[in-house]
């Protein structure tokens, strides 16, 4: 019978070495390696001008609470990464966000920040909530285009930041359609797209995988991931403002 024939396999699985959580050491990923084709060629003219003046204000907005242990948040790390890359520039980073906020809701938060903080560069993280709730794609695209236009009118550059890599969204939420939409909007508007989904997939293959890390190593992995995302964003800013 079925049950009898499966029992040995089950026992083997339960007693096999490493069946439990094995706290494998985090891979070093010293450079948070990023293939060059994952850097967008689009330019950031206002950011470049700000760098030349030696002051850069960045406003980050997304569907996450901008609070938490400061060292673990990528926008906090972004300032460090930029300081390392551009030591002569004074960088300020501010974050706005709310859990479960759609693109439109994030934009409302960003717009308030545009007026009060007067950033040179806006980073707009979006797409996760839309994909999870399978919200109307056309509306999403309209919101993005509208936000980008308003940002330009306010005198700031803007970059779109893709959702995080997630096996769940890949398998169950049709995330590709929303990523494609973001790619299309970014290309049409000539702004850089931060391809975080793709970056994180690459890092996951090298072992930095938030969805597969043991509970004990999780804080370290999370901090490392934020560091890598921050470095990748800094690399994109650097590439988009090169003379």
């Amino acid at each position: 019978m079925l049950r009898r024939s499966l029992l040995p396999i089950l026992l083997a699985a339960a007693t096999a070495p490493g069946a439990g959580a094995q706290p494998a050491a985090l891979p070093s990923l010293s450079a948070c390696a990023l293939p060059p084709d994952l850097i967008d060629p689009a330019r950031l003219p206002r950011t470049r001008a700000a760098l030349e003046r030696g002051r850069l204000r960045i406003l980050v907005g997304g569907s996450a609470e901008p609070t938490g242990t400061a060292t673990a948040l990528y926008h906090a790390r972004l300032r460090e990464a930029l300081n390392a890359l551009l030591p002569q520039v004074e960088v300020t980073v501010e974050a706005r966000g709310r859990r479960g906020a759609t693109a439109g809701e994030v934009w409302t938060l960003l717009e308030a920040g545009l007026a009060s903080f007067r950033p040179h560069l806006v980073i707009w993280q979006t797409g996760t909530v839309e994909a999870a709730r399978s919200l109307e794609l056309g509306e999403f695209v309209d919101k993005l285009s509208e936000g980008i236009t308003r940002c330009r009118i306010a005198g700031a550059d803007i970059m779109l930041l893709e959702p995080q890599f997630s096996r769940f969204l890949r398998a169950n939420a049709d995330i590709e359609r929303y990523r494609d939409a973001m790619r299309l909007v970014a290309a049409a508007e000539g702004i850089p797209l931060l391809r975080r989904f793709e970056w994180m997939r690459g890092w996951a293959e090298q072992g930095l995988d938030l969805e597969r890390v043991g509970q004990a190593d999780r804080p370290a992995a999370l901090a490392r991931l934020h560091e890598c995302v921050a470095q990748a964003i800094a690399a994109q800013i650097h590439a988009s403002t090169r003379p």
Binding site: A13, Q22, S134, L135, E136, G214, Q215
Partner: protein, 388 residues
């Protein structure tokens, strides 16, 4: 196990429904290696299409018989009774699943669970969320299949008088499908974006099942003609689709190089509105099964087929437990993703689903046995036929 299986049914429908339920469990675990072998990898249709089609098929058989014997009002009342059962099961599953996900998110410090599974509205506005869940206007991820089934059965209760005129029924159903797709009509959803499975579009697949399953009084069910050219046509559709889907999963860069509008077409294949390619995939597969698997095929009664047949016959409890288990499986794989854990999750998962089916079948048999012994007249067979 043989004695637990209700043999008077079309076991082909039961076994494929069992497979669909098993695949739903597998596909709902992100990163499950077994997920590379389920239908969604090599066909536009995945387990949901199989499940809905076979629900229609079983409904056509069971309620069609009841309709001719007892009339529309009684048959429709039975359908509505079934809707009640499904509704209660859905609400129960909603409570269990949100508790499970919420507890896991808090204990394991993974807020991402709440975002991905659309549980965050429940946290930010719990009272409205409860109301919207009861109205089926709030459907977190994975809790969207039973609401689809509920609305399909409600529509079916209304459409029952047309069951004897299959072409008219199909024609109306197709017209509604075309209209809904053309105008982008969907049922509303509290979180925006409409229903994940639009019942007004998916009803076509259900009706296809009904029409094929229904046997008019004194006659056999509609026999699909076995034609060589039809078989060739089905294969000519399914084999390239399989190649395309395999490429989409394993070599997307290859797909991007195909000239012409094909990639754009592929990207437009939506699940919410049952894209025509999904519909055709399922119908082509069903046709091949009808042609090559006779109703009385011996392997349907073989011992390896029995667990799946039994799971298909006890679909509702197996489905609900499968949703619960798939989230446990996800947590397990996030703890360790080695071969041992992958094997354990899939084997244990299957055994539990099978165990649930055995218990449900055994209990159902006891209840029916007791009722039949106590009642002066045994219930008509159709009344004892579950359709989910």
């Amino acid at each position: 196990m043989q004695h637990l299986i209700r043999g008077a049914r079309d076991l082909r429908a039961d076994i494929f429904r069992g497979v669909a339920l098993w695949f739903i469990f597998i596909n709902h675990i992100p990163g499950n290696w077994a997920g590379w072998f389920t239908t969604r990898n090599y066909s536009f249709a995945d387990a949901t299409e199989v499940f809905v089609f076979l629900a229609g098929y079983a409904g056509g058989i069971a309620y069609g018989k009841l309709m001719e014997r007892e009339g529309w009002f009684f048959a429709a009342s039975r359908v509505i009774g079934r809707v009640g059962t499904l509704y209660v099961a859905h609400i129960f599953l909603f409570v269990v699943f949100t508790a499970q996900v919420g507890f896991s998110a808090a204990t394991l410090d993974r807020a991402i669970y709440l975002d991905e599974l659309e549980m965050d509205p429940l946290g930010s506005d719990p009272y409205t969320a409860m109301l919207m869940a009861l109205l089926l206007l709030y459907q977190p991820a994975f809790l969207n299949i039973l609401p689809l089934y509920i609305v399909l059965l409600l529509l079916f209760a209304l459409a029952l008088p047309l069951i004897g005129r299959p072409w008219l029924l199909l024609g109306l159903s197709f017209a509604l499908y075309v209209l809904v797709r053309a105008l982008g009509i969907n049922l509303p959803s509290w979180t925006g974006g409409g229903w994940f499975f639009n019942p007004l579009a998916w009803q076509l697949l259900f009706v296809c099942g009904v029409v094929i399953g229904y046997a008019p009084p004194g006659r056999a069910a509609l026999a699909l003609p076995r034609r060589r050219w039809l078989i060739a046509l089905a294969l000519a559709f399914l084999i390239p689709s399989a190649a395309v889907m395999l490429a989409a999963w394993h070599a997307p860069q290859l797909l991007a190089e195909i000239p012409g509008p094909w990639t754009a077409l592929l990207q437009s294949v939506d699940k919410a509105g049952l894209h025509p390619l999904r519909l055709l995939s399922l119908l082509a597969m069903a046709y091949l099964v009808v042609c090559y698997v006779p109703r009385d095929a011996a392997w349907l009664r073989s011992s390896w087929a029995q667990p799946l047949v039994l799971m298909g016959q006890q679909a509702l409890p197996v489905f609900c437990v499968g949703i619960f288990l798939s989230f446990l499986g996800r947590i397990a794989l996030e703890k360790s993703d080695g071969f041992a854990m992958q094997a354990a999750v899939n084997i244990l998962g299957f055994l539990v689903l099978f165990g649930v089916a055995v218990i449900a079948a055994w209990y159902g048999q006891k209840v029916r046995g007791g009722r039949a012994a106590g009642a002066a007249q045994p219930l008509p067979a159709a009344m004892r036929t579950d359709t989910a």
